[in-house]
């Protein structure tokens, strides 16, 4: 037992003196989750759609449409700028706006006459999401316009006559128009002032409503578990690689000349790897806890973490038991872990994966680790909630550790000559 402690201490001290490798690996989840949270959840809120409007009509209806676009509620989502006719396209091509709305000449006339009218929306092809929002919003706007023209039809026809005529319209004409508008408005008021159908948006699972301004930390905590689990596997890889480094440097041969059994050396390396992963996990957990600012079930967290560390150690033991050189092992581990990371939801949530990949996602330990930690952080799961992840990771880890220890033992016995 004393030998094991000495070996673990020696390996940890070596990593402590040269912390850049594991340090950079551990920095990555924080950088990655931070960048995602900054991009999609900064306190500035979602970016506004920059919408240019070419008003080629400049009549009553188009001016009303423009003021509707500049309404306070629309201003939360749109930056509307009126530009001269034919000037909008050049601005779009310079990337200065997401979309251009063209109100055609004769728009007011057509609206008042109840004739068909077509507005044109030009999307910026270099963007995808903001032009889509512009298109969806303008489509809704056109639906409303269409409904308005139908509902206010008689009043609009009267208004057109009054505007087209010379001089001021007569009192009777004004009264007739007002009456037509009033009766239409009265008929539809119950339906549209305010709209009789509303939409409430809820998330299907019973997660708590988000606090205002918490988008950054929410996204950070959504992204952190997956990428942190992947980083822990990478740290484990750094730890276990030492066995091959020592074989190359000749220090393994020296250890074998001491009164140490091969299994003790392998066990020491596995324990050092587990200790390195535990320290790394503790560091990441502290940062996660600081961002979460809410308690998690400690027993569930510790059980899940123990299972994950077993999986990390077992995985790296098999990789370096199979590899002939450090470089081969590092390459094999990087490739397998990268595939696991993409399939297992480390970089992209599992639900956002293509259907074909979702099917195989749960074959990866990273998926189980990610699901477990997200359950703890997002849904406040207890031991029962993370039990599936614990069982899969522990089973995966124990199996691989047995196989890996056998392979490493064989290598260590031979490997003094490696």
């Amino acid at each position: 037992m004393g030998h094991l402690a000495v070996m673990v201490r020696k390996d940890l001290l070596r990593h402590w003196r040269s912390p850049l490798g594991p340090g950079l690996v551990l920095a990555f989840p924080l950088i990655f989750a931070g960048l995602i949270a900054l991009t999609f959840g900064g306190n500035g809120g979602p970016p506004k759609v920059r919408l240019l409007v070419e008003n080629r009509d400049d009549g009553l209806a188009s001016r009303l449409a423009l003021s509707a676009l500049r309404d306070a509620r629309m201003a939360q989502y749109f930056d509307v700028e009126e530009v001269a006719a034919d000037a909008g396209l050049a601005r779009i091509e310079r990337g200065e706006a997401s979309a251009l709305l063209r109100i055609p000449a004769g728009f007011t006339d057509a609206i008042l006459a109840g004739e068909p009218v077509t507005l044109e929306l030009v999307r910026n092809p270099a963007e995808r999401i903001l032009p889509e929002i512009a298109e969806q919003s303008m489509t809704i706007g056109v639906e409303v316009l269409d409904a308005g023209v139908r509902a206010l039809g008689p009043g609009l026809v009267g208004l057109r006559g009054a505007i087209a005529g010379d001089g001021w319209p007569s009192t009777e004409t004004v009264a007739a128009i007002a009456s037509a508008f009033q009766s239409s408005a009265q008929a539809v008021s119950e339906l549209v002032f305010p709209p009789v159908i509303d939409l409430a948006v809820v998330r299907a699972t019973g997660s708590e409503p988000e606090e205002p301004g918490s988008t950054f930390s929410t996204l950070f905590l959504i992204m952190l578990p997956g990428v942190a689990v992947w980083a822990l596997f990478m740290v484990g890889d750094t730890g276990m690689r030492d066995l091959l480094t020592e074989a190359r440097a000749g220090t393994l041969r020296r250890q074998l000349s001491a009164p140490l059994a091969v299994r003790e050396i392998v066990a020491g390396k596995a324990l050092a790897t587990a200790a390195l992963a535990t320290i790394s996990l503790a560091l990441l957990a502290c940062i996660g806890a600081f961002a979460a600012r809410r308690p998690v079930d400690v027993v569930a967290f510790l059980t899940l973490s123990a299972a994950l560390i077993l999986a990390v150690t077992g995985f790296s033991a098999v990789v370096y038991g199979l590899a002939r050189t450090e470089r081969q092992g590092a390459t094999l581990a990087s490739i397998v872990l990268l595939v696991f990371a993409f399939l297992g939801g480390a970089f992209v949530p599992i639900d956002a994966l293509p259907a074909s990949l979702r099917l195989v996602s749960r074959l990866t330990p990273i998926a189980w680790g990610t699901i477990g930690y997200r359950s703890l952080l997002e849904h406040g799961a207890g031991l029962r909630g993370v039990l599936p992840s614990v069982l899969v990771l522990a089973g995966f880890g124990a199996t691989l550790l047995v196989v890996g220890a056998w392979l490493l033992g064989r290598r260590a016995a031979r490997g003094a000559a490696a």
């Binding site: 850049l20 490798g21 950079l24 920095a27 990555f28 950088i31 960048l35 995602i36 900054l38 991009t39 999609f40 900064g42 500035g44 970016p47 779009i92 091509e93 990337g95 609206i111 068909p116 077509t118 507005l119 044109e120 929306l121 030009v122 999307r123 092809p125 270099a126 963007e127 903001l130 889509e132 969806q136 919003s137 303008m138 489509t139 639906e143 409904a147 308005g148 023209v149 139908r150 509902a151 039809g153 239409s184 008929a187 339906l191 549209v192 305010p194 159908i197 509303d198 939409l199 409430a200 948006v201 809820v202 998330r203 299907a204 699972t205 997660s207 390459t331 599992i350 956002a352 994966l353």
Partner: protein, 376 residues
């Protein structure tokens, strides 16, 4: 000069002899192009939104509303009852009982859309927009029917059968060739990222190995001046980046159907400028880090950070304004801007002049710094 070329080619040869190089330089980037393209909706089929509808009312306004929801782009399934606990989560819209009677009496009715907690944000927003459009259409048609004499099912159908008075025609600016959804971002984005990352890693790792083993010092005894050795190192990394770019451009065209624009000259200028910037950065990294492990880890992280901030992972439009502006101190943002000009807008040589000039500037600065800091 032949010595410089020979030394540069030797660096490329060493990289090619590394067995996993093919995987990292070619297979991984192509896999990532496919992966991120698929996530961004990169299938040949148009995006279909899944929406389950639970109509608890079943009276005529509710049925008319569900009818307004049906469109080619929606995979709409009607549920007879709420799904049992434990059933797979799907996006669901609930029309409450008493909806028709409530609407007709002017009593506010609230439809509830339940998103899957971990669902795709873009799909969720698109589904919401679709439902709001159907609501607007339903209210509009009900209003028109009411003005014409009363809101009845027959009159509603009559109003709905008439052609629209107001329409929206949607076009796209520029003369770019449309490419399958998602790929227009993922293919240039992953090319930009992986060329940067792999040139950084391979370029810096081999340089640190040469520094550690004393090979670099020996090369100056060939005889070759320090300046020419550094030039050879830069050229080696430039050739490596250019080879990878060539393979990935071909893969983008042949495997993913991406059109690289109408200007081969513009594309060549942009890619050459980017390769020069990346080669300079790889040599600089190799000059400042001490060993291959550091080179690999730092190269990986620099690649990831520059790619994400530069707009290679997601469209830069979703980033906050300050981040979009700050990204322009990075070569990746200028490369992506050039790609969008060529691919999305179908621009010519002039479109990429500014991005190419900036990239060449980056390349020059990185190379000068590398030459100053590299200890031969």
């Amino acid at each position: 000069m032949s010595g410089v070329l020979w030394l540069a080619w030797n660096d490329v040869r060493l990289t090619a002899r590394d067995k996993p190089a093919f995987l990292w330089l070619v297979v991984l980037p192509i896999a990532m192009m496919w992966f991120f393209g698929a996530i961004g909706g990169g299938s040949e089929q148009p995006l279909r939104l899944a929406l389950d509808v639970l109509d608890q009312d079943q009276a005529w306004v509710a049925r008319a509303f569900v009818g307004e929801l049906r469109e080619d782009t929606i995979d709409l399934q009607e549920l007879a009852a709420p799904p049992p606990p434990g059933a797979p989560e799907r996006r669901r819209l609930v029309v409450p009982a008493g909806f028709t009677a409530g609407v007709l009496s002017g009593e506010r009715q609230v439809l509830r859309i339940e998103h899957v907690a971990t669902g795709n944000l873009e799909s969720n927003l698109a589904a919401q927009a679709h439902v709001i459009r159907a609501i607007a259409r339903t209210i509009g048609r009900l209003a028109a029917a009411k003005v014409e004499g009363g809101a009845t099912a027959e009159r509603y159908r009559d109003v709905a059968s008439r052609p629209a008075l107001a329409r929206l025609a949607v076009t796209t600016a520029g003369g770019g060739t449309p490419v399958p959804r998602g790929r227009e971002q993922s293919v240039p984005g992953m090319l930009t990222m992986t060329v940067l990352m792999m040139t950084l890693i391979y370029g810096a790792v081999f340089l640190t190995i040469e520094k550690q083993s004393g090979m670099l010092r020996r090369q100056t005894l060939v005889p070759m001046s320090r300046g020419r050795v550094i030039l050879a190192k830069l050229l080696g990394r430039l050739i490596l980046a250019a080879l990878q770019i060539g393979v990935l451009v071909a893969a983008g065209r042949l495997l993913f159907g991406v059109s690289w624009g109408r200007s081969p000259a513009g594309l060549a200028l942009l890619l050459a400028s980017y390769a020069i910037a990346v080669a300079g950065l790889a040599t600089l990294l190799g000059a400042v880090v001490r060993n291959p492990a550091q080179a690999s880890a730092v190269g990986w992280i620099i690649g990831m950070v520059l790619a994400s901030i530069g707009g290679c992972w997601w469209p830069s439009e979703v980033m906050p304004g300050w981040m979009r502006a700050a990204a322009h101190v990075l070569p990746t943002a200028w490369a992506m801007e050039g790609f969008h000009g060529l691919i999305s807008f179908g621009g010519g040589l002039t479109t990429v002049l500014v991005p190419a000039a900036v990239l060449l500037g980056f390349g020059g600065v990185y190379s000068l710094l590398a030459a100053k800091l590299l200890r031969v």
